[in-house]
């Protein structure tokens, strides 16, 4: 593509759609995206493989709280590092 030439509309739409989902799910908190994947993996193992329903019932909200607290701690540390 020549400099200054605009990319095709379809490509711009796809790119915009991808950017929206990236911002929506990851944005400036990739740790929360990773945490959700980890939570699903751990609870899936507990519930479907080990058949530990009671443990899964406690683990799911507990892991969500831990993920939230760690993400906030990351934000606080980032704030403290600012000049």
């Amino acid at each position: 593509m020549k400099p200054g030439e605009r990319s095709p509309l379809a490509w711009r739409l796809i790119k915009g759609f991808g950017m929206f989902w990236w911002d929506f799910l990851i944005g400036d908190t990739p740790e929360l995206f990773v945490a959700a994947i980890v939570i699903i993996g751990v609870v899936s193992l507990l519930s479907r493989v080990a058949h530990l329903n009671a443990v899964a019932v406690i683990a799911l909200p507990l892991l969500a709280i831990v993920a939230l607290a760690l993400s906030i701690r990351r934000a606080v540390r980032g704030e403290k590092r600012r000049p």
């Binding site: 929206f20 944005g27 929360l32 609870v43 519930s47 899964a56 969500a64 939230l68 993400s71």
Partner: protein, 253 residues
């Protein structure tokens, strides 16, 4: 239980979550439209808003019926995961703002910034810029409303109810917003955002579990339990962060 339509407890939580989420997004979209309308004239602002609303309606018409055909447990797992992420993002932001670690979302400041941006743009591009800004503001904020309505509505098998509640919230905030015009900063947006965050994480937890075949004690009554749990955790985190911030300031002084 998977496949069982959400009961009355779930309906109350669903209505609350959809209403609050839509109201918050509507306040943000309205701020942009008001800034465009007051600065550039209402014609382009309304045109941009109208085209954005039609595009959003088309998205709902296309994806709404399609989502109904997705197997419920798979849908709830995906929706649960998305709501967990989205809810935790909202809650994180609201907690940081409440504890003073992040600047509050100031609609007056956003209004002023948009007006300055619009006034700085060249006169020849006037209508196009106003149209694009109104379109982007309504479309992007509206897209979050659409996702909230589609995910919460289809997972609870109450898409009609979710869409109706969203429409009421949008109209209500729209009417109130137009009446109070530039006083949108008086809306307790952070408290609302915190409430939405708590409800979205509660739904996210519940449906992620349902999608993974976790059997919740009391079925959808657990939603209320989750909301209470996350509310307490949110309050505790805000109190802790405020205390820590005060202690840090005292040491620095």
């Amino acid at each position: 239980m998977i496949g069982v339509t959400t009961g009355s407890t779930g309906v109350v939580v669903l209505v609350g979550a959809v209403f609050l989420a839509c109201a918050v997004e509507m306040v943000e979209a309205l701020t942009i439209v008001l800034a465009v309308g007051h600065t550039r004239g209402w014609r382009s602002a309304f045109e941009g808003t109208g085209v954005a609303l039609v595009t959003l309606a088309a998205l709902v018409a296309v994806f709404g019926p399609a989502l109904v055909h997705v197997p419920l447990s798979a849908l709830r797992l995906v929706v649960g995961g998305v709501l967990l992420i989205f809810g935790m993002q909202w809650l994180r932001k609201a907690i940081l703002r409440s504890s003073g670690l992040k600047a509050m979302h100031d609609e007056d400041e956003i209004y002023r910034a948009k007006v300055a941006e619009l006034e700085a743009a060249g006169a020849s591009q006037r209508d196009r810029i106003a149209f694009v800004m109104a379109f982007k503001g309504v479309f992007l904020e509206g897209l979050e409303v659409v996702i909230t309505v589609l995910t919460l509505g289809t997972s609870a098998h109450r898409l009609g109810l979710a869409a109706t509640v969203a429409a009421i919230a949008v109209v209500l905030v729209g009417v109130v917003g137009v009446v109070v015009a530039k006083q949108l900063s008086n809306v307790p947006e952070n408290a609302m955002k915190m409430g939405v965050g708590v409800l979205l994480v509660s739904y996210g937890t519940f449906w992620t579990g349902e999608g993974l075949k976790v059997r919740w004690p009391g079925n959808d009554v657990m939603l209320v339990g989750f909301a209470a749990l996350y509310l307490v955790v949110t309050w505790a985190l805000v109190v802790y962060l405020r205390h820590e911030r005060r202690a840090t300031r005292e040491v620095a002084a």
